[in-house]
């Protein structure tokens, strides 16, 4: 019985202003010694390249356990999220104020649905 743990990892958030404000009010926000925040506020001016860079930076940090990302923003960088398969940090798609959550777009649920092909069920 192997036991591996990392005590007190962070929850990161990539989202619109309301989502980030809400979750930071919940107490997940942290700016580390290198002045790197664990959140990224995406507005109209934020380019897709910036979101990609922000996501890659959060994924490579070892002090983050969960990344929350608004589903409409995840759609913008779907090509990166689809190939990401690491269990830690876990990427969670969440609804936003204007875009409700759609399970059909969620990468993990799509993968789960793809488990059953017609050939397998014969």
């Amino acid at each position: 019985m192997a036991h591996s743990s990392a005590r007190g990892r962070l929850i990161a958030v990539i989202g619109d202003e309301d989502t980030c404000t809400g979750f930071l009010m919940g107490g997940i926000g942290e700016v580390n010694r290198h002045r790197q925040p664990n959140f990224l506020v995406v507005d109209k001016a934020t380019s897709i390249a910036e979101i990609e860079d922000g996501f890659k930076a959060l994924v490579t940090r070892d002090d983050i356990a969960i990344i929350l990302i608004n589903q409409h923003i995840a759609e913008m960088i779907r090509h990166i999220i689809d190939v990401y398969t690491q269990p830690i940090p876990a990427v969670l798609e969440i609804p936003s104020k204007e875009h409700p959550y759609d399970p059909a777009k969620d990468s993990i649920l799509r993968r789960a649905r793809g488990m059953f092909s017609a050939e397998d069920l014969r």
């Binding site: 202003e17 930071l24 107490g27 969960i66 649920l109």
Partner: protein, 243 residues
């Protein structure tokens, strides 16, 4: 014959995995619905707070990025390495819970507990002195009790001194913990007297964080089940090809 037995076994395992998968999916969908509701309420309350405080009073400009520290963290524990390191259990660690119930204001609870102990000792003395002054008719009885108390007090003094030393040590260690883990309320970024709706929004988002933690665990379970299913399916195909 052995092959067919093994095939049966693999098929049964596959069936069990599919059942597990649907159970996980069921709870995942329900938790996701919970998260939707909590976040929707949070957004609504935040909008209400904006209406009260002004449009720019609740925005990213108010974040205190100079000394921002996470109050809520996550423990990601892998109890076993059977699932190829995919089996993680996520549990929330709140600031107060880490240091054995540290008060969010930083050490007030310990100070009061220490104060209470002193106050009890003093109050007993005060009570004794007060009662001797006020109740003259029961003087004799009190003298007797005082004598008994004096006898006991000599014995108790030693224990009390030891306890005091221990408690002081504990208090000093707790104070060190307090200084290490200081909790603060992010709501204060938006002012000291914030509207109730903003507080409600904070509560909703705190609940959403807890739900997100559960969802993360369910998703890792789902991934683990999916990978196991894939490998078993491959095994089944190989066995079928052999037959």
């Amino acid at each position: 014959m052995e092959d067919s037995d093994q095939l049966d076994k693999v098929c049964r395992q596959l069936d069990q995995l599919v059942l597990d998968l649907f159970n996980t999916l069921d709870s995942l969908y329900s938790e996701q619905a919970n998260l939707d509701l909590q976040m929707k309420d949070g957004y609504l309350q935040m909008s209400k707070a904006r209406y009260t405080m002004g449009n720019k009073a609740v925005s990213s400009l108010q974040y205190d990025t100079r000394n921002m520290q996470a109050v809520v963290k996550v423990d990601a524990v892998a109890p076993s390495v059977d699932g190829g390191g995919n089996d993680y259990v996520f549990s929330l660690v709140k600031c107060g819970e880490k240091g054995e119930g540290i008060a969010p204001s930083g050490g007030e609870g310990d100070a009061t507990s220490k104060g209470l102990r002193h106050r009890n000792v003093k109050s007993e003395n005060v009570k004794d002195s007060g009662s001797s002054d006020q109740h003259d008719r029961s003087k004799k009885e009190e003298d007797e009790t005082c004598e008994l108390e004096n006898k006991e007090s000599t014995e108790n003094e030693k224990c009390a001194n030891d306890n005091k030393k221990k408690s002081e040590d504990k208090v000093s260690s707790k104070k060190e913990n307090n200084s290490a883990v200081r909790c603060y309320d992010p709501l204060k970024w938006f002012g000291v007297l914030v509207p109730q709706s903003l507080r409600q929004s904070q509560t909703d988002f705190k609940k959403a964080i807890e739900t997100a933690c559960k969802i993360a665990e369910l998703r890792t379970n789902l991934e683990k089940t999916r990978m196991k299913y894939g490998s078993l399916l491959q095994q089944k195909k190989e066995l079928q090809a052999e037959q």
